[in-house]
């Protein structure tokens, strides 16, 4: 250990990438360069495929010629077997990137007559390496020599010498070995190959098989020590690590809408962080899928692709059902913005699901992924397996900056603290939709259990689904506590009634006042009239008096004048 520590301090161990997806991540770069590595496992564990991928991908992807020395299969069989993975061994051989040597040994054909060594094998491998300038060598399965030759002492000494010799030649070698009883390999090859030992296993639980890979030993290097599930499919081996050993994903502080305005407002009006993970959990029939559909539609409306994994319903069903609440998903599917993958959970094992999701994500490149519901996965794996799978899924999606929404069915009404999958601690945002039963009816309530890094409402909102969609209603806070559903509506109605009555009372009083005013005003008018007539009467007297006076004055003047005239006439006549 001290040696390895010193080594890694001074100069990091050079590594050769295998090109096997996932494996290079868990080993921090691949297999130790220029050293032999041992791949062991039971029959059918994938040892040969792993090694061939190392060689062939090395030749294709890293331009490093490789030598395949097989001790079991015929070269022709091998070519056929890997042709299904899309590897054209013939062409590689023609291009001098690959050399295949089939070592055939049969004890019945050979008589041992004294001292011998394995120089023949050395020369063969050496010749192959030198012919194409190979950097990578695979020996599959060298232990078969033990079946062909009886002198174990010589064999062991020679194998030790072979591995040393390969190391001196500076080629990166993979040696496969069949798992033995209590040892990694039948012949204890791990004693000779001490730089890197990788164990492949095949475990069947509940009739569903899982392949597992573990780095048992990797001298001079840090490596993941867990068992990593891996898959063999038409694209070869994929190891699924918890994508990185650390948590160093880039984060976005951009916020995206959930599609439900009133829900956005619960996150201080901005919605969720892009690239975050969100869990919607709730009991049956609380509208989890509807929420998911809203998320999908919001994503599509932003012209961002959305990938929807449905474990319960078929795409057509989802489209139809969501049409009933006013969401037209078909339009987005036609526009190529939405893809719904419907799978039965029992179709294949958990790991296969994970890989299927990986593949689909890599292909479709969505900005939003919805898994509805994750609960169904429990039917095909234990809780801890599901959790481990979901961790890796979240990790992968967050690494890609994809926002992910999970829905989860909660069986027990009171199990609000923990989801069944125990993934509530992994997600950034957790919405809980639950039934609130009161007054003989069921109503839906939604609240935010947690939301990392965003300000969020602590209120329970009533959550209503109708023809036009989802709506969050502020719960009614009456004098008797929180009211929801018809109780809320009744309360609202009675309030309206009260308002009406008050309004009516008020208007009646107004009218009364008006009437009073009118009576008063008419009285005032009468009095005014009376006053007018009195004043007229008075005025009349005055006027008459004045007139009388005036006329009398006039008459007097007339009289005076008349008298004067008479006098003057008398005078004139004179």
């Amino acid at each position: 250990m001290s040696r390895s520590a010193r080594k890694s301090n001074l100069q990091p161990l050079e590594k050769k990438p295998t090109g096997i997806s996932g494996f290079d991540e868990i080993t921090g770069g691949g297999l130790p360069a220029g050293r032999p590595s041992l791949i062991c496992g039971e029959a059918g564990a994938g040892k040969t495929l792993f090694s061939i991928e190392f060689i062939v991908r090395g030749a294709i992807e890293f331009k490093e010629p490789g030598v395949i020395v097989i001790f079991e299969e015929q070269a022709a069989d091998l070519e056929k077997n890997v042709a299904s993975l899309g590897f054209d061994l013939k062409k590689l051989q023609k291009d001098n990137m690959l050399w295949i040597d089939h070592v055939h040994i049969d004890r019945s054909e050979i008589e041992e007559t004294g001292e011998y060594d394995l120089d023949g094998l050395f020369i063969r491998i050496g010749h192959a390496i030198d012919s194409i300038g190979a950097k990578r060598v695979m020996l599959d399965t060298i232990e078969n020599l033990f079946g062909g030759l009886s002198n174990e002492g010589i064999l062991r000494a020679e194998l030790r010498r072979l591995f040393g010799w390969l190391k001196n030649k500076g080629v990166t070698t993979i040696i496969t070995g069949e798992r033995g009883q209590g040892t990694f390999t039948r012949q204890g090859l791990e004693e000779y190959v001490s730089d890197c030992v990788i164990l492949l296993e095949h475990r069947v639980t509940n009739q569903i098989s899982t392949r597992l890979l573990r780095v048992v030993k990797y001298r001079g290097s840090l490596h993941g020590t867990n068992e990593y599930p891996f898959l063999i499919d038409e694209e070869g081996i994929s190891v699924l690590p918890v994508t990185s050993l650390g948590l160093d994903n880039a984060v976005s502080s951009q916020r995206i809408s959930t599609g439900i305005l009133s829900l956005d407002s619960m996150f201080s009006g901005n919605g969720l962080f892009r690239g975050s993970s969100c869990l919607v959990s709730g009991t049956a029939g609380t509208g989890k899928t509807s929420i998911a559909a809203y998320f999908a539609e919001a994503s599509c409306n932003r012209r961002e692709r959305c990938l929807y994994f449905a474990f319960e319903e078929s795409p057509k069903q989802i489209v139809r059902n969501m049409g009933s609440i006013g969401i037209d998903l078909k339009r987005h599917m036609d526009a190529g913005l939405l893809e719904i993958h419907s799978l039965r959970p029992t179709l294949h094992g958990l790991e296969m699901h994970l890989v299927a999701i990986h593949r689909a994500v890599k292909k479709f490149k969505p900005r939003m992924v919805i898994v509805d519901p994750i609960t169904n996965l429990v039917t095909i794996g234990s809780m801890s397996e599901v959790k481990s799978m979901l961790i890796r899924l979240i990790d992968f999606l967050q690494g890609e900056g994809i926002t992910v929404l999970f829905t989860a069915l909660v069986y027990d009404k009171d199990a609000t603290v923990q989801t069944d999958e125990g993934i509530s601690s992994l997600v950034d945002t957790w919405l809980l939709v639950r039934d609130i039963e009161a007054n003989g009816e069921r109503n839906r309530g939604i609240y935010i259990m947690k939301s990392r890094g965003t300000k969020h409402s602590n209120q329970v909102r009533e959550f209503v689904i109708n023809d036009t969609g989802l709506e969050l209603v502020d719960v009614y806070l009456g004098p008797d506590g929180i009211l929801i559903g018809s109780a809320r509506e009744a309360q609202q109605l009675s309030e309206v009634t009260g308002l009406e009555l008050r309004h009516y009372a008020k208007s009646r009083k107004d009218r009364e006042v008006e009437r009073k005013r009118m009576v008063l005003e008419s009285k005032i008018a009468t009095l005014k009239e009376e006053f007018e007539s009195v004043r007229d009467e008075l005025n009349k007297t005055f006027v008459e008096e004045d007139l009388k006076n005036e006329i009398m004055e006039k008459n007097r003047d007339e009289l005076t004048k008349t008298r004067n005239t008479r006098n003057s006439s008398h005078g004139k006549r004179k």
Binding site: D101, V103, H104, I105, E109, I110, E111, E112, T113, G114, E115, Y116, D117, L118, D119, G120, L121, I123, R124, G126, H127, A128, L145, G148, L149
Partner: protein, 103 residues
Amino acid sequence: MEKRVQKGKEESVLPAYKFRLFVTGSTPNSVRAINNLQRICEAHLAGRYSLEIVDVYQQPAVAQSEQIIALPLLIRKMPLPERKLIGDLSETERVLNALGLNE
């Protein structure tokens, strides 16, 4: 390429023996194998065998075509069927048995 051929006289009715011996230069095993084989042949097959000695170091390609793993390797090409013997041929009894010279 080191190739030494020793031909016996074609005088007998007994079948002719044709051997090919693969060695690695002049390593101790190789030298012993050559000496042992020549001794056995002279004792039992004098005059009716041919022997070809191939140095695999000189002809590495032959190792693959002849399925060579352990060396020294002696192949009895004739009479058929082919027999393969590995080792320095020091265990004379086994060599004679394997070559069918023990009657």
